[in-house]
């Protein structure tokens, strides 16, 4: 006969263990990357071109490349996503069409990123003849983060109380004015949070840029949107598997920079969310 107390203890221990198992990998990954990468980080590393076949020098073109790609993706996906979300939340009636669109968005979110890469290669690089370029890569990444932006924007719009819309309409505002003045301002924090999470995802993905933009080794900054660039995730892949005899601290330094950018984005998103949650008064 096992005492109930003992059963309790065993159950709690198991639950605690499971929780710790979640933290452990994160902690180990962070530890290894920081420990091995930190010695590689220096002002030169962040601001110099790579030298002698990427075995020395810095990673500036990859940082700048990632920055341009993310910027392009957001410029493309943010307006499109927010407008689509407004239509879906505020205008569309529950019809087979709107259900189809909703289904499409859910499926878009589930498409593996390498498929986005192939899609971008076929459509933007091939069909539209943008070539392997920042433009093609940005558009591909933009389509990839579109579901994130639409979903979070819709959640943000739906969380604005119905009464705000009713009050605004009852005061003789048009529907468009109601959305602009009584709904959108209060949904903005949520939309922003979703966008930043999308940015984090776009910055970290390798597969969508693999065929559409990423340069293996291009020790200069891009001249135009039709130029190829290096990008951090692909650069990391190249350093780790394609170039022999790369100093470990360069590899881990690159990983650390990428990880810092992505985590920083998530941190900013969390901060915006909690700031506005504190300010929210309804």
């Amino acid at each position: 006969m096992i005492s109930p107390r003992l059963t309790q203890k065993i159950a709690f221990s198991l639950l605690l263990l499971a929780t710790l198992m979640v933290i452990l990998p994160v902690a180990v990954v962070l530890f290894i990357i920081v420990k091995n990468g930190l010695p590689g980080i220096s002002w030169e590393f962040l601001t110099q071109m790579p030298k002698s076949g990427m075995r020395a020098g810095g990673i500036l073109p990859a940082i700048i490349g990632t920055f341009y790609l993310v910027l392009g993706a957001v410029v493309f996906a943010l307006p499109l996503g927010v407008l689509a979300a407004i239509y879906l939340s505020e205008y569309s009636k529950d019809s087979w069409m709107s259900r189809l669109v909703r289904l499409a968005i859910i499926n878009l979110a589930g498409v593996p990123s390498v498929v986005f890469g192939l899609f971008g290669l076929a459509l933007f690089v091939g069909f539209f003849k943008f070539g392997a370029s920042i433009l093609a890569g940005s558009l591909t990444l933009g389509i990839m983060i579109l579901p994130v932006i639409i979903t979070s924007s819709r959640e943000a719009l739906d969380s604005v109380p119905k009464s705000f819309r009713e009050v605004s309409l009852s005061l003789g505002s048009t529907k468009l004015q109601t959305i602009k003045y009584a709904v959108l301002p209060h949904a903005l924090p949520g939309i922003l949070t979703g966008t930043i999470l999308g940015i984090g995802r776009a910055a970290g993905e390798t597969a969508p840029i693999l065929f559409t933009v990423a340069a293996f080794y291009l020790p200069r900054l891009p001249h135009s949107a039709f130029d190829q660039v290096m990008a951090l995730p692909y650069h990391l892949y190249v350093l780790s598997t394609q170039v022999p005899n790369v100093d470990q601290k360069i590899r881990y330094g690159t990983a650390l920079v990428l990880l810092t950018i992505v985590l920083l984005m998530n941190l900013i998103a969390i901060m915006i969310r909690s700031y506005f949650r504190g300010k929210k008064k309804w």
Binding site: S163, V167, L171, H186
Partner: protein
């Protein structure tokens, strides 16, 4: 005795949500510069009736209505743009619902949507509306504060001011005191009695005493039908229908 002109005429109004009827064969004439109280138990269709008058039900996809509602002898569906109609027929909701803006911006919200930008016009309109809603003295130094910081009673009067600022002809009150204490309620009733000099008022209330206090006429709704409508004094002292008698004497509902 001169009968006041008819402001709103409702003829054979039927309203449905999905297929369930919530109003059946309602005929009511609402006289100008009078307060019409609408009483009845829950689910009797009072609020639906009220929201028909400024077409606020239109935003509920399952809503359908038949019959004719005329404001100043013009059909509100055929001869008014809904946006312009709602500027003429304002509504105060049951719960105070200030928008998360300052006191001032709440009052001028409707005016700004009419592209009025002149600071002087807005300020004057806001002051007048707040005075009419008996709120000016309490908030004249707090116009730039968040409206959510006001007390519940003040918020509800702010909502009245906000509606008045648009300069409507008719003001609909949907149980405006249901969330308020007796003192705030008294202030709002006082405001309504003054307002009827300039506006036609329809007051939906669950509080029969309130209907008796402020209504010129009172209409009793039950299960989506208008049972009886009469001068308030007569309805409460000598109701013609037994169901009205039962309701106002508290035997059901």
């Amino acid at each position: 005795m001169v009968t006041p002109p008819i402001k709103i005429s409702v003829q054979n109004l039927n309203a449905f949500f999905s297929t369930a009827p919530s109003l059946m064969n309602v005929d009511i004439d609402i006289e100008a510069n009078q307060i019409l109280s609408v009483i009845g138990p829950a689910n009797s269709g009072k609020t639906t009736f009220l929201r028909c008058l400024n077409r606020l039900n239109d935003f509920t996809p399952t809503f359908k209505m038949t019959g004719r509602i005329a404001l100043d002898n013009k059909d509100i569906y055929k001869e008014y743009d809904p946006v312009l109609l709602r500027r003429k027929v304002g509504i105060i909701f049951a719960l105070p619902m200030p928008l998360p803006l300052t006191v001032f911006e709440n009052v001028v919200y409707g005016l700004r949507r009419q592209y009025i930008k002149d600071k002087k016009i807005l300020s004057e309109a806001a002051e007048k509306a707040l005075k009419d809603a008996y709120l000016w003295e309490e908030v004249k130094d707090r116009l730039d504060e968040q409206a959510m910081k006001l007390s519940g009673g003040q918020q509800q009067r702010l909502c009245i001011a906000r509606t008045l600022a648009v300069n409507p002809d008719v003001v609909l009150f949907d149980e405006p005191c249901s969330a308020l204490d007796p003192i705030s309620t008294a202030k709002i009733e006082e405001a309504m009695l003054k307002l009827k000099n300039h506006y036609t008022i329809v007051l939906v209330t669950n509080n029969t005493k309130q209907a008796a206090r402020v209504g010129d006429k009172t209409a009793f709704f039950l299960m989506g039908r208008l049972v009886e409508m009469a001068e308030t004094g007569r309805l409460f002292t000598a109701p013609q229908d037994k169901r009205t008698d039962d309701y106002i004497s508290g035997r059901f509902g």
